[in-house]
Amino acid sequence: MSLVQPTIAEAHILGGEAVGFMSGIKHPVSGWDHIIAMVSVGLWGAQLSMPATWLLPLTFPLVMAVGGFLGIIGVPLPGTEIGIALSGVLLGTVVLFEWRPPLYWAAALVGVFGLYHGHAHGAELPPGEDALLYSLGFVIGTGALHLTGIGIGLIHRWLWGRRLLRLAGGCVCAMGLSYLWTGLR
């Protein structure tokens, strides 16, 4: 009788929550289309210098959370994959040409793409995870990618660094075009 009475397995007592947090951290770095766009936001912010350096990474997670919210509650956003691919193309292009629009234009551009990335993440969220820890990991993972971009962007103070950044922008643009081609086929 004892054998057939199931007991609560406690070998992984915080398993669900730990999986939620780690899944959340890993989600933003699970695809190169997301990685290149988010790192590019940091690179562009570093190129534009203050206050864009902090304003863009502040805008992106907030707008991305709005997209994530829409994705979670099931509101459709047409052309998500195309939008994500375009974010790579356009963010790579602005880094390549070191484009310096007014700050609100830069924030709006980054915000629009944040909406697409957030929606894709929100729509793909796995059921049964710990919501808070998953979301916490997700936001930290996204922020870490921006900080990586800003950190790399610090080389902008040197001439060779500026050239390298523009080259990186070109590579991001090429990768974005590749994703766009795949998305349109």
């Binding site: 004892s2 919210f69 829409l70 099931g74 936001v139």
Partner: protein
């Protein structure tokens, strides 16, 4: 005999919600609070905001929020319907927005904000525990007070632009987290 042995070996209910330290209800409350991110994150955010706003604001928050939290806890015990998880999620969202925008309050509004957050989070804490009792809540409240004091003291002397920006960016991340939590709640109730 076999039946008695079987009952002894049967699984006990899992006490997942109230962490038992073996040190009594006060420490159980402390450990439960420190292991509940839904409670800690809004408090951390409000403490950082209080420090950014200056000593007078920080003092108000420090001495008003913990009693309001306890009052919210007691009010939730007295009222039967459980608080929906939307409340702590919304508190997280709102606290994050306030910090990200570096919201500037008059002293009266600061008092109102501290009391409102205290009541909401205290009531939410009661909903998340399994009859921990007043002593457990007092332990959690003491922990909240210490956390508020320490973190507002961290952000109070910040003058460097980059440091203030870093704190505000953490507010935007908290707001993003709160918004996602609200989304999870909406999806669960759709």
């Amino acid at each position: 005999m076999l039946l008695a042995v079987n009952l002894l070996l049967a699984a006990l209910p899992a006490s997942a919600h109230l962490v038992s330290t073996g040190l009594g209800p006060v420490y159980d409350g402390v450990s439960h609070f420190t292991l509940t991110p839904e409670q800690i994150l809004p408090i951390v955010t409000l403490a950082l905001l209080a420090g950014l706003r200056g000593p007078a604001h920080a003092r108000r928050v420090l001495f008003l929020l913990p009693p309001a939290w306890l009052a919210g806890y007691l009010a939730a015990i007295a009222s039967s319907p459980a608080l929906p998880p939307l409340v702590p999620a919304s508190a997280l969202l709102l606290a994050g927005v306030l910090l990200a925008t570096d919201a500037k309050f008059s002293p009266t509004v600061a008092v109102g904000v501290a009391v409102a957050f205290g009541l909401a989070l205290g009531a939410a804490y009661e909903t998340s525990t399994d009859n921990g009792g007043l002593l457990s809540a007092m332990g959690a409240c003491a922990c909240l007070f210490v956390l508020l004091a320490l973190l507002s003291a961290v952000s109070l002397p910040l003058r460097a632009h980059a440091a203030i920006i870093a704190v505000r960016v953490s507010g935007s991340w908290t707001a993003a987290l709160g918004l996602l939590m609200v989304g999870w709640w909406v999806r669960g109730h759709a």
